[in-house]
């Protein structure tokens, strides 16, 4: 119904747009009285006049409001529009023609419900809804800031997708992301979920203070929890008391204290297949060892003899705590730890020689020990800083001078180098290529004292065993003795990294410790520390697992068991690489959390203990100050905001705007809810339904409100421009990922595989190199089927967002986002018209129309049209498109010109369907391009 315009309407429209539709909130609301701070209570269903319209309780609330405003709901959308809406909402992909036909042919009255159920069971459902959460979780595949290096965190992404697919209850979903690692009997997957908190950016540009940026990451985590879980703006509390909501600065830091006690950990994560392989390997090793024990029943005695031999003769080592020379670090920071070790942090140069100076009173020094230690904060636990947690020591050098007479400093001649791992000489992996063209290798400890820049002591022994403590001992040719003490200057040269320090190419030591001894002929202890520790336990007190560890250490050195040992080595070689994942792991000791004056980490104020804001629900009595306590509190049934925040965002995804239009802030400054009772009803229903999101989806898509036609009259547009009253169905452009996924699906190019590493579809090369990007970025463009994966899997560099997504308002993960903008710009038009992947889609759709669409052009057109928008074209639309087709077929008289447009590679044109000319395909490509660019194609109607 189009009304004749009238001044009155126009003014009403202006007023509606200029001012809020809902009553303005009171100027000074009682802060604690605010509706959102009180737990929702299930309201009674309102009475409505037109009961026939009502399908479920949602409709009662919607209709009551409409009736109050004197409005009527719109009629139900036609089945095909509704089907496409349902597909886009539940899986983010359009229905295929076969699916549409099957739906239309289904005579059952509950065909819509059946279809919804099918889609809720589709693995694509998790992709579509997981993406919303990934916005809130500020997911990206790179570190952000200047270096913006790649990080491998896709296990978290897949965990989120999987959680939506298996309908993990939302409270559990929250708990695992905040403290999955602290759940009793936590499995590896549950630790992956804490990647939610670790999605913060990491600044490793030269010269950073790592603690400063750890704090930035902490603020970011607080913000993410505030927006995504609490639905409250809490970041004000960083600097001062919240101006509007009753959150004191101290309360902010009390929440902060729950999160402040963790390692920024990085673990290896394995796919189910990789886990199976790992299990096979370990089982295989256990079997071989059991077989050895079985065939050699005297093993306990032999082991005991070996233990006796192994026990003696270890030199006494004294740990030294050297000063780090700032200039020598190449910009890397070395954090001294209480055990005397140094932890490398911040920027990671690929070549540097750190200079370490220490004075010692040891009267005689015969040897130096370098221990490489594990640390949760290193890649895969270290001990190195490479992406595999490995490192290489190019040269170990030491100078000595009598204390007080630095002029007599002399280089110490090293006579021998031994290590507990002495790998065979091997060339460096490609990521350490320094473009020198020289053959650079790692190998035994001798490589660290051979004065050869090209060789280094390495610890690489393959996945499964590379991330363990190692040590090397460097024996001086002659003892160093200075009666007044000695100044030792160590140079740890680490030049075995790659050419690009803006990429993950370092090969540095991660955490290490230096010790000295006066013992003669000191050599590296071949036994790991944990074996030494077990040896110290009296035999009768040892657990069977400890004995097994000793057995493994011993059997590897029994010469006559060579064959068995080789079989075990062969098993280890099959160990999967796995992938890294950023997670949190609790520190043994809690950090001291203080209120930071104006949020400045250099201005700590008084200490605070972990706690929660007084205006929200209380913590259980006596709960320990752990992340798990916080997690359970966040997802508590008594939380006033957790359920409301989530149902509001789900509503927003369906209808384009939430019941509260500010999903990130339900606080006193939020927009008033359009249907407050409905919000509460849904929140309570959600919680009482076991926090099941699929149940919530069923409820929403089952409502009459959802099924309305989105056709809008001028009158209604004027009255309710945002469609907050829902007198019509939602209609808006789909999200950026789905814009692209629709094109991929319609063209048939889409590779529908679920999960796995992020992929690299085509991207203009210049974006990845200076001066467009800070440094050169790695982007191995996919040439196989991975080229056409769903956009969810597109690799996300924070500093170089993928243009086809960024242009359609996809956030880049710099910070938590619970509401995307929806813009409509010329740059979007250029994207869908000209971007290579969209163009490949147009070509593919054209071919499909020719090959599969039928014999006549109208049939083919209907086929292509339906692949894009599901419905058939109207007569007028058909005429328009067939005209274009005819006209352009004539325009491509010349084959080579036609191939230029129609073939990805004109010099190797594809085979044509029988009876078709290149001009036909080119003209169809043009038509397909028009179809893919229709407003309707990228719109949920």
């Amino acid at each position: 119904m189009i009304l004749k315009p009238h001044r009155h309407w126009a003014l009403a429209f202006l007023w509606l747009l200029a001012g809020p539709l809902m009553a303005a909130p009171e100027k000074t609301p009682g802060r604690l009285d605010h509706w959102a701070f009180k737990a929702p209570v299930r309201p009674a269903l309102p009475e409505v006049k037109d009961r026939r319209w009502v399908r479920n309780p949602i409709d009662r609330f919607i209709l009551a409001r409409l009736e109050k405003e004197g409005l009527k709901p719109s009629p139900e959308a036609d089945p095909i529009t509704l089907l496409r809406r349902l597909f886009l909402d539940l899986i983010g992909l359009p229905p295929s023609i076969a699916e549409a036909d099957a739906f239309l042919a289904d005579p059952s009255p509950d065909r819509f419900e059946k279809q919804a159920e099918k889609l809720l069971g589709s693995p694509h459902h998790g992709e579509r809804w997981g993406r919303h959460w990934l916005d809130a979780a500020r997911y990206a595949d790179s570190d952000g800031y200047e270096k913006d290096k790649q990080r491998s965190v896709w296990f978290y992404r897949d965990w989120v997708v999987g959680a939506f697919n298996r309908d993990l209850p939302y409270d559990q979903f929250i708990i695992e992301q905040i403290a999955g690692d602290q759940l009793p009997g936590a499995a590896a997957g549950q630790s992956v979920a804490t990647g939610f908190l670790r999605n913060s950016m990491v600044n490793e540009e030269g010269g950073v203070d790592p603690e400063q940026f750890r704090m930035e990451a902490m603020f970011d985590r607080m913000d993410a929890i505030g927006k995504s879980i609490l639905g409250l703006t809490i970041q004000c509390g960083q600097c001062h008391d919240h101006k509007y909501d009753p959150l004191a600065q101290e309360e902010y830091y009390r929440l902060f204290a729950f999160l402040n006690n963790d390692h920024e950990a990085n673990i290896a994560a394995y796919t189910p297949e990789e886990e199976m392989r790992r299990a096979e390997i370990h089982r295989g090793i256990r079997e071989i060892e059991a077989e050895l024990r079985h065939r050699h029943p005297d093993w306990p005695e032999r082991l005991a003899r070996w233990e006796e031999e192994a026990r003696g003769g270890q030199p006494e080592w004294t740990v030294v705590r050297p000063e780090v020379d700032d200039i020598s670090t190449g910009g890397q920071k070395y954090l001294p730890l209480p055990d005397g070790s140094l932890l490398a942090q911040g920027y990671a140069p690929t070549k540097h020689a750190v200079k370490l100076t220490v004075k010692t009173d040891m009267p005689k020094i015969t040897a130096f020990r370098l221990e490489l230690l594990n640390d949760a904060n290193l890649p895969l636990g270290g001990p190195g800083r490479s992406i595999w947690g490995t490192c290489a020591l190019t040269e170990f050098e030491v100078e000595a001078a009598p204390a007080g007479d630095q002029a007599r400093k002399e280089k110490v001649k090293i006579a021998a180098a031994t290590a507990d791992v002495e790998p065979a000489e091997a060339p460096l992996a490609p990521i350490f290529d320094d473009r020198s063209g020289k053959r650079r290798v790692t190998g035994p400890a001798l490589f660290a004292i051979d004065e050869n820049e090209l060789t280094a002591w390495g610890i690489e022994v393959g996945p499964g065993r590379r991330n363990q403590e190692r040590k090397a001992v460097f024996a001086a040719a002659a003892p160093i003795s200075n009666p007044g003490g000695t100044v030792l200057v160590f140079y740890l040269k680490q030049n075995h990294g790659g050419w690009n320090s803006d990429d993950n190419q370092n090969h540095n030591l991660g955490r290490f410790r230096l010790s000295i001894t006066s013992a003669p002929q000191a050599a590296a202890d071949l036994l790991p520390r944990r074996v030494r520790e077990i040896l110290a336990v009296p035999r009768e007190e040892r657990a069977p697992a400890q004995t097994a560890v000793l057995f493994s250490a011993w059997r590897a050195a029994v010469p006559e068991w060579k064959e068995a040992n080789e079989r075990i080595e062969a098993l280890w070689k099959r160990h999967p690489e796995g992938s890294s994942q950023l997670v949190l792991s609790a520190r043994e000791e809690a950090r001291d959390t203080r209120i930071l004056k104006r949020g400045d980490f250099l201005k700590p104020g008084r200490p605070v203990s972990a706690g929660v804001p007084a205006f929200l629900h209380p913590l259980p009595e006596g709960a320990p100050p752990t992340r798990l306590t916080l997690a359970r509190w966040l997802a508590d049934r008594r939380s006033p905001t957790a359920a409301r925040a989530m149902v509001n965002r789900v509503w927003q995804a369906y209808f384009g705007i939430g019941l509260v239009s500010t999903p990130e802030d339900l606080g006193t400054q939020s927009g008033p809810p359009s249907h407050p009772e409905l919000l509460d009803w849904l929140a309570v229903e959600f919680m009482e339904g076991g926090w099941s999101l699929k149940r919530l989806h069923r409820l929403i898509v089952g409502s009459a409100a959802y099924r309305q036609s989105s056709r809008v009259s001028l009158e209604l547009l004027a009255l309710d421009p945002y469609n907050r009253l829902l007198a019509r169905g939602p209609r808006f452009r789909v999200e950026g990922e789905i814009v692209r996924d629709i094109a991929l699906a319609a063209s048939g190019l889409l590779n529908p595989n679920i999960g796995g590493r992020s992929v690299f579809p085509p991207l203009p090369a210049f974006l990845l190199v200076p001066p467009a990007s800070y440094g050169p970025k790695v982007w191995p463009e996919e040439t196989g089927p991975e080229r056409f994966r769903r956009s969810l899997y597109t690799f996300r560099y924070r500093s170089v967002p993928y243009p086809a997504l960024q242009t359609f308002d996809v956030p880049n993960g710099d910070f938590s986002c619970v509401r995307r903008v929806r813009s409509n710009t010329p740059l979007q038009a250029l994207m869908t018209l000209n971007e290579p992947v969209f163009l490949e889609c147009a070509r593919a759709l054209a071919r499909r129309a020719l090959e599969e669409g039928g014999r006549s052009d109208p049939e083919r057109l209907a086929y292509a049209f339906r692949r894009c928008v599901s419905r058939r074209p109207s007569a007028e639309e058909e005429k328009e498109l067939l005209n274009l087709l005819e006209e352009e077929k004539r325009g491509f008289a010349d084959d080579s010109k036609a191939w230029e447009l129609a073939a990805a590679d004109p010099s190797h044109p594809p085979r044509l369907p029988e009876g078709e000319s290149p001009a036909d395909l080119a003209a169809w490509t043009l038509v397909a391009r028009v179809l893919l660019n229709l407003d309707e194609t990228i719109t949920k109607e």
Partner: protein, 484 residues
């Protein structure tokens, strides 16, 4: 970068991007009543910047709070942080104390990025002389700038909050060291709209050895609508991503395709009534226009030879000089904010050689831009800013040819648009370590720029997450002395 609140406080998201709809609504809407309705609703009325336009095109020119002196900005962002001590801020005492340790009280509590704060002083590496009627002191590295020194104001007393590149660049460009805030260009385009109808309101170029450390967030729109974010142009190849038609598709094919597309979209609009469809129609039209206007803009070969020479610009080459010339061409075409990033100034080492090279690459074009804008009468309404994210330490890094990051003092210069020409503002101490007189904090710079553009910086706000955000956060004082 673009997560934000288009729906806040009763604003219709769909009506925020109305430009082409209204501008050309004849093409799509014909006799439709909607047209009349919108017109009667008064979308064309001037909007106040604190109450963002609802019906109007978000990029339509808008009136600021007061009559501004300037209406355009060209920000020459010298990323990496140029050494104030070699370029603008001559310190004879630093030369005298070269090789000696700084007084302990000077560096007490000082945090440096790379060096031990107690590193020896490094004397200035270049000669300085006074220039122009104003007698401002400039390094021998800047002979071209010396020619326009009476047109510019030099601020020697800049201070900032951050001393790592990415956070400090983000701070200079968004007023916050945390990511997620709108950039200055986005704020200004939000406040003033743009006078170009077929180019974006905020255009960004990048040149130099690297890209800017802060990446895209330097020109992001934060929580402002995405139409205000900077659009990256390239000085070579396609200036805008995917601007060119695909291979094998000429202009007439493109036109016929777009005509068909428009008619189909119009049919849908008539059936459904969603004005978003009309916006889409107009987005495609504008895209089509941009396909010819952007290449025309980029075609500097049409500039007379003496202008190319003035800048040192060479058609077909990607360079800072070309970008300066393009900046002028953009401003001429009504683009509101142009930002050139030149990331080349991070001289931890190689100070002498790199500064020589950087000044060779940039000095002539910077001075040319000022001259050229002036001779066209554009300088009065255009503010040119030259500067980086922080300064460099008076202390040496490495041997004797490098300086570390330094937030306590740095220099930038401004010209045009109500800036007091010929002024040298502020002083640092005898070593160039601390700004000691007329300190200008980054927030103060922002406040002053907004003032010159006609805004009360405390009132150019956007409501997000329950509070009114502004470029200057809760800070910022207008630097009155800088005003003409």
């Amino acid at each position: 970068m673009n997560c934000q609140a288009h729906l806040y406080r009763g604003q219709d998201p769909k009506l925020l991007t109305r430009r082409w709809f209204f501008k050309d609504c004849a093409i799509g809407l014909g006799a439709l009543a909607l047209h009349q309705l919108f017109r009667e609703a008064g979308f064309a009325a001037p909007e106040s910047p604190t109450r963002p336009p609802v019906l109007a095109d978000p990029l339509a020119p808008k009136q600021p709070h007061h009559a501004g002196k300037a209406k355009n900005v060209i920000f020459l962002f010298m990323a990496g942080a140029p050494s104030h001590l070699e370029l603008f801020d001559y310190k004879p005492q630093l030369a005298r104390f070269d090789g000696t340790l700084p007084p302990p009280e000077l560096v007490k509590g000082y945090r440096a990025a790379f060096i031990n704060p107690s590193s020896t002083f490094l004397g200035p590496k270049f000669k300085f002389a006074r220039h122009g009627r104003c007698g401002a002191e400039l390094s021998e590295l800047l002979p071209n700038l010396a020619e326009v020194v009476d047109e510019i104001a030099i601020v020697k007393s800049m201070v900032t909050d951050a001393f790592n590149h990415a956070p400090a660049q983000i701070f200079m460009n968004t007023g916050s060291t945390q990511f997620g805030r709108p950039s200055m260009g986005a704020w200004i385009t939000y406040g003033l709209g743009s006078e170009s109808s077929d180019l974006p309101g905020f255009v960004v170029f990048s040149s130099g050895a690297k890209g800017p450390s802060g990446g895209n967030s330097n020109w992001g729109s934060g929580f402002l609508p995405t139409v205000y974010q900077g659009v990256q142009f390239r000085s070579g190849g396609e200036p805008v991503l995917y601007l060119s038609n695909p291979r094998g598709l000429d202009d007439s094919l493109q036109r016929r395709s777009l005509d068909a597309l428009e008619r189909l979209n119009r049919l849908r609009f008539e059936a459904i009534g969603d004005p978003e469809i009309a916006t889409r129609i107009n987005s495609f039209e504008m895209a089509y226009r941009m396909q010819s206007s952007a290449p025309e803009l980029m075609d500097i070969a049409r500039e007379p030879k003496h202008i190319l020479e003035l800048y040192g610009a060479e058609p077909g080459k990607a360079s800072f000089a070309n970008n300066c010339l393009l900046a002028r061409r953009l401003v001429e075409r009504g683009v509101r904010f142009v930002q050139l990033f030149h990331e080349a100034w991070d001289q931890h080492g190689n100070l002498v050689a790199d500064l020589k090279k950087n000044c060779r690459d940039t000095d002539r074009a910077c001075a040319a831009l000022v001259k050229d804008l002036k001779q066209r009468g554009l300088l009065e309404e255009t503010i040119v800013i030259w500067g980086g994210e922080f300064g460099r330490t008076p202390m040496v890094q490495g041997g004797n040819d490098g300086r570390d990051h330094h937030p306590n003092a740095f220099t930038l210069w401004l010209a045009g648009g109500g800036i007091k020409a010929g002024l040298t503002l502020g002083e640092t101490d005898e070593f160039g370590f601390n700004a000691v007189k007329d300190r200008v904090h980054v927030h103060d710079l922002h406040a002053t720029l907004l003032h010159l553009l006609g805004f009360d910086h405390t009132r150019l706000t956007f409501r997000f997450q329950g509070r009114d955000f502004r470029l200057t956060d809760v800070h910022g004082e207008i630097v009155e002395k800088l005003l003409a």
